[in-house]
């Protein structure tokens, strides 16, 4: 179980600046024709991921390295299926869990319990699955009675704890991560690190974008270096 195949993947972001986003200009262009119409067709694009190919199977732990803007995060997002490839293809088997933005979908006016459900839905769980997990999630978060309060009353560390507890409550086959997650105070962080380790070990494939050499050495067995959206080096890591 667990397979991730990427073939000549290209992700192009159109730059929709004001001129070509507005209907007025489209209409005016239609009327004036010629030069302007041409320039609006050649919309500038940012090629965030350029002809990337790789194939991962069970047991592979891929580390993505590269400067800011080299396309690591976009590649991770594309792997989660959010962006349709501009060209090329992407195949994945297994449950994909993305820990790129653990607090996505949380509502600050809603209570902790409601947020467990909201966040769970965002992770692709069904209502029933979340109901089964609610107890273990609230136990892990150690938030106790606070869970019945709106999370706007929480400290930012508490919100992150809750988000972390929900996000790591499902077993992933393919795990996508942008840097190692660290949450909460020293004591909670230790517990969180343990849980994350279990999740990483349980996942059959890991793709992790990182700037840390130490992390790369301790977690990954492959490394892929990216520059300007392209892969410039893909190699096995050996101790």
């Amino acid at each position: 179980m667990g397979l991730l195949e990427v073939n000549n993947l290209v992700i192009d972001f159109p730059v929709l600046s004001m001129p070509n986003r507005s209907l007025k200009n489209r209409v005016l262009n239609a009327a004036t024709g010629g030069y302007l119409a041409k320039s609006s067709k050649d919309r500038p694009v940012v090629r965030a991921v350029d002809q990337v190919s790789f194939s991962l199977k069970g047991g592979d732990r891929l580390g993505l390295v590269g400067h800011n803007g080299s396309g690591k995060t976009t590649l991770l997002r594309a792997l989660s299926g959010a962006f349709e490839p501009s060209s090329g293809s992407l195949k994945a088997c297994g449950r994909i869990v993305s820990l790129l933005d653990v607090s996505m979908g949380m509502d600050y006016e809603a209570t902790g319990f409601e947020n467990i459900f909201l966040r769970g839905i965002m992770m692709g769980l069904t209502r029933k699955e979340i109901e089964d997990k609610v107890d273990s999630i609230s136990a892990f978060s150690e938030l106790g009675d606070y869970l019945t309060m709106p999370i706007r009353t929480y400290s930012s560390g508490m919100v992150l704890r809750l988000a972390f507890a929900v996000s790591t409550s499902i077993q992933a086959d393919i795990l996508l991560m942008d840097e190692w997650l660290s949450v909460g105070d020293a004591q909670f962080n230790e517990k969180a690190a343990k849980r994350l380790n279990e999740m990483v070990e349980g996942a059959s494939i890991l793709v992790l974008a990182t700037h840390s050499d130490a992390l790369l050495k301790s977690v990954c067995n492959r490394v892929m270096t990216m520059e300007k959206g392209r892969v410039i080096n893909h190699s096995l890591l050996t101790d």
Binding site: A82, G94, R95, D107, L118, R127, P150
Partner: protein, 279 residues
């Protein structure tokens, strides 16, 4: 369904006509099927709007009630109509209008309001549209409470024809889904569209027989008969006010539905893969 969720197969080749059609169809089917998701998100939207207020979502009922009562009494006087006849007419018309028009207005924002989700996870686009429609169904249900006292004024209502009402609400909601897909995609791409739609809707309110009765315009009946909003309202208003089931309006609504469904499918087919890039 879970097995499908666990498989991802994306290929730029899928943009050719037939694979794209299959994917568009899948999007609609899976989006509508993910009921627990859109119900939760839509309910949360309503809760969020009224959190920390004492009346909560019943503010919806109250504010619509106040508006209907004010309009009902004032315009009954202006149009020289008996309140017992005019007030129910305005009440039903207004409630259905609010349902239809806010679905259209909110259609423009279905994708931009879920930007963060769309850019992170793969879910059917139709799901975000269903969230908006569900939210408006909840508003409609709150507004329907107003009709309870109002219906006591109507003496010749047609209880048997009420059976058609759930179908009427369903077909309007169904239209909402497909209108949402079309307008949602268009306004994600062209940001001038929402204000254009909003002004059309505003004018539509005055051109549609909500405050005035269609009989007034008897000499220009075509003006009313060609107004799609009129038919959307009539399929609910007529049975409630003792006019039976309006077959002509139903036929028109079915035609409109066929048109919105087809347009929605074409838009999904052509632009589904672009939405995440545009939001």
């Amino acid at each position: 369904m879970s097995s499908r969720l666990n498989e991802l197969n994306m290929d730029a080749q899928h943009r050719q006509f037939f694979p794209a059609l299959v994917l568009a169809w899948q999007d609609i089917r899976e989006g509508i099927a993910a009921r627990d998701k859109w119900q939760m998100l839509g309910t949360q939207d309503i809760k969020q709007r009224y959190r920390r207020s004492v009346l909560g979502p019943f503010w919806l009922t109250l504010s619509t009630g106040i508006m209907v009562a004010a309009l009902g009494f004032l315009y009954a006087e202006l149009f020289h109509q008996p309140v017992a006849e005019y007030l129910p007419f305005v009440a039903v018309g207004m409630i259905v209008w609010l349902f239809v028009s806010s679905m259209i207005n909110e259609s423009c924002f279905v994708f931009s309001e879920s930007e963060r989700m769309i850019k992170q996870i793969k879910l059917p686009l139709t799901l975000y549209v269903c969230r908006m429609v569900w939210r408006n169904i909840l508003v409609l249900l709150h507004n329907l409470v107003i009709l309870i006292p109002v219906m006591f004024l109507v003496d010749k209502t047609d209880t048997l024809a009420w059976l058609s009402l759930p179908f009427a609400v369903c077909i309007l909601a169904f239209n909402g889904i497909f209108t949402g897909i079309v307008l949602g995609i268009l306004s994600t791409r062209y940001r001038d569209l929402p204000p254009i739609i909003a002004s059309i809707i505003q004018v539509g309110f005055f051109l549609t027989p909500i405050m005035w009765k269609p009989e007034i315009l008897a000499s220009r009946a075509w003006f009313v008969k060609t107004n799609p909003f009129y038919h959307c309202i009539e399929i609910i208003r007529a049975p409630l006010l003792g006019g039976g089931i309006p077959l002509y309006s139903w036929a028109m609504v079915v035609v409109i539905t066929a048109f919105t469904d087809l347009t929605g499918l074409v838009f999904l087919l052509r632009y589904r893969h672009r939405v995440a890039y545009w939001v």
